[in-house]
Symmetry: C2
Subunit: 329 residues, 2 copies
């Protein structure tokens, strides 16, 4: 491996000079610079990032810790973060915790040990509940899930409003007996429940039902099965995340119940299947690109000004009205 010493020798200068040329830090005589550049090119030298990171105690890397890499919501955010970081010359280490607090600690420690400059992080439920005590010694931006901690910046969706809007859409289209299914694994589900209840209340209604279940396809399937096999059925089901939506959809197909004729279905997050099925599913689209980009920008701002107080950015969701919730006949 060619090191800075080899370059120095080849150019007939000291390592300090090579380093200065690399960092573009005057004063350097143009002639010297060229000799060094020539040596670098000739030896095909690239600085050792590990050594640089050891010396500088930091590195041009940011960590992205997501709770489920298979969730398209997070891959979309990953793309956005990567693009934004790339523009600043940073690279992204993407880590998947699988909603597992152990892996979460493992990767947070790993990123710390790797001297990443900052972390973008969607915490597990367990983490969130203890986040108040947690001390972030690396600049951190929390995404998607509210935590109560003074030290971290956050980028969140206005879940209450989004759920409110989605519920109002159902009401506007004539649905009245609306059942709600909410994820029980994060604050997100609770916030969406809040918006759901508020909207109904403001129209003088109460939920047909409201359940908190594990945010998995299977749970959505079971809950929907119970709802739909009852004599008294809802005319719409509101789901708080795409796993639950999928479960409800599968239940409807299993029991040959027509959407939206027999009940309307709405949920959160854009998915490929939700667009492709017939009818397509009405959802609140989260601005994933914007979330990722905003989180990255907040992080860079924090890096250049470590002392400013933490701020929280709340973004709005976007209602995509589709066939699964058209006006009731």
């Amino acid at each position: 491996m060619t090191s800075i010493k080899d370059v120095a020798k080849a150019a007939g200068v000291s390592t300090a000079t090579v380093s200065r040329v690399l960092a573009n830090k005057p004063p350097i005589r143009p002639e010297t610079r060229e000799r060094v550049m020539a040596a670098i090119a000739q030896l095909n030298y690239r600085p050792n990032l590990v050594a640089r990171s050891l010396r500088a105690q930091k590195s041009a890397k940011i960590g992205l810790v997501v709770s489920d890499i298979r969730n398209p919501f997070f891959t979309a955010i990953g793309r956005a973060v990567e693009d934004a970081a790339y523009e600043q010359g940073y690279s992204v280490l993407m880590c998947n915790t699988d909603e597992n607090p152990e892996k979460e600690m493992l990767y947070l420690n790993l990123l710390h040990d790797e001297n990443v400059s900052g972390i973008i992080f969607s915490p597990t439920h367990q983490f969130s509940s203890q986040a108040g005590d947690f001390h972030f010694d690396i600049p951190t931006v929390i995404i998607d899930r509210l935590v109560h901690n003074k030290e971290a910046d956050m980028v969140l969706l206005d879940n209450v409003s989004a759920a409110y809007e989605l519920t109002e859409h159902l009401l506007a289209n004539g649905y009245r007996k609306i059942a709600g299914l909410f994820g029980d694994a994060s604050a997100t589900g609770q916030e969406r429940h809040q918006g759901f209840v508020n909207a109904l209340r403001d129209h003088g209604l109460t939920p047909f039902s409201a359940e908190f279940v594990s945010p998995r396809i299977r749970s959505g399937f079971s809950a929907a099965t119970a709802l739909l096999q009852n004599a008294d059925q809802p005319d719409a089901i509101f789901t708080s995340n795409s796993m639950l939506t999928a479960g409800v959809f599968q239940a409807a197909r299993e029991f040959k119940i027509k959407i939206p004729d027999e009940f309307a279905l709405v949920g959160f997050d854009v998915t490929e299947w939700g667009e492709f099925v017939d009818p397509p599913i009405t959802v609140i689209a989260q601005p994933t690109e914007e979330i990722g980009r905003t989180a990255t920008e907040l992080l860079f701002q924090r890096l250049s000004n470590p002392n400013r107080s933490a701020r929280t950015v709340i973004l709005k969701g976007n209602l995509l009205k589709r066939g699964s919730s058209i006006a009731k006949r």
Copy 2:
């Protein structure tokens, strides 16, 4: 930050001893080990991985370079690689090249500079075509796409057989006018074309048509539109990847053409939408879990024995017969 020196001081030993305790490398007197362990625990010390990596000129990390993070095929592989690596105490840096050769070089260099122990890599088309000249100075396992290079291990799908089987399935179900759409961005498309043609030939048939197009939803849409608006229509469309499948599916919906009544549709790779639509799509499922795990295992074998000759593992796809290709009436 607490370093090994602090621990040494606290335990009243030298840094060498601490290091030996950490590496669990005898001889160490049990009593000393305990003093050191106590100091480590008390100071909450964790070794600096950067320093360790600089000294050792390697690290317990492997790089995973994929061409499209949004493709579920690659996220599934990412999960498998991560799990397999985790079991060996390695962590995974996941990089997304977006089929962009520049990003590809950037990330290969970055991983190199990060002292990763090995790389698992699905190369772009451009890379593959020049791969013969490329010298892998880090142990590398190529996945998904054939390259001609003596130095790298590979894990591939038996694309010819898989396409053959998929085509025979169509034939068995009575389809005869079979059009093929193939991706033009990698050798994969060509191999699948080969199997497609072979199967037809072995039954004394020729393709209704066969086109190579860019592997994008849009291209699949256009190609299908052309095929389906013609007076003489195929009774089945064979697609070589899930983007093309999606494009064809959308075209069918756009023009209200019923699958499989008017034409059957088959393709490659499991996707959520392919299962959820009605009828679900018949596909060759690639064993993503096995691909990722095998690649990781090959890599570890190579790490422990750098001199063995490169080997290629060919895995079989799994035909999932579904509604989009049921027996023709």
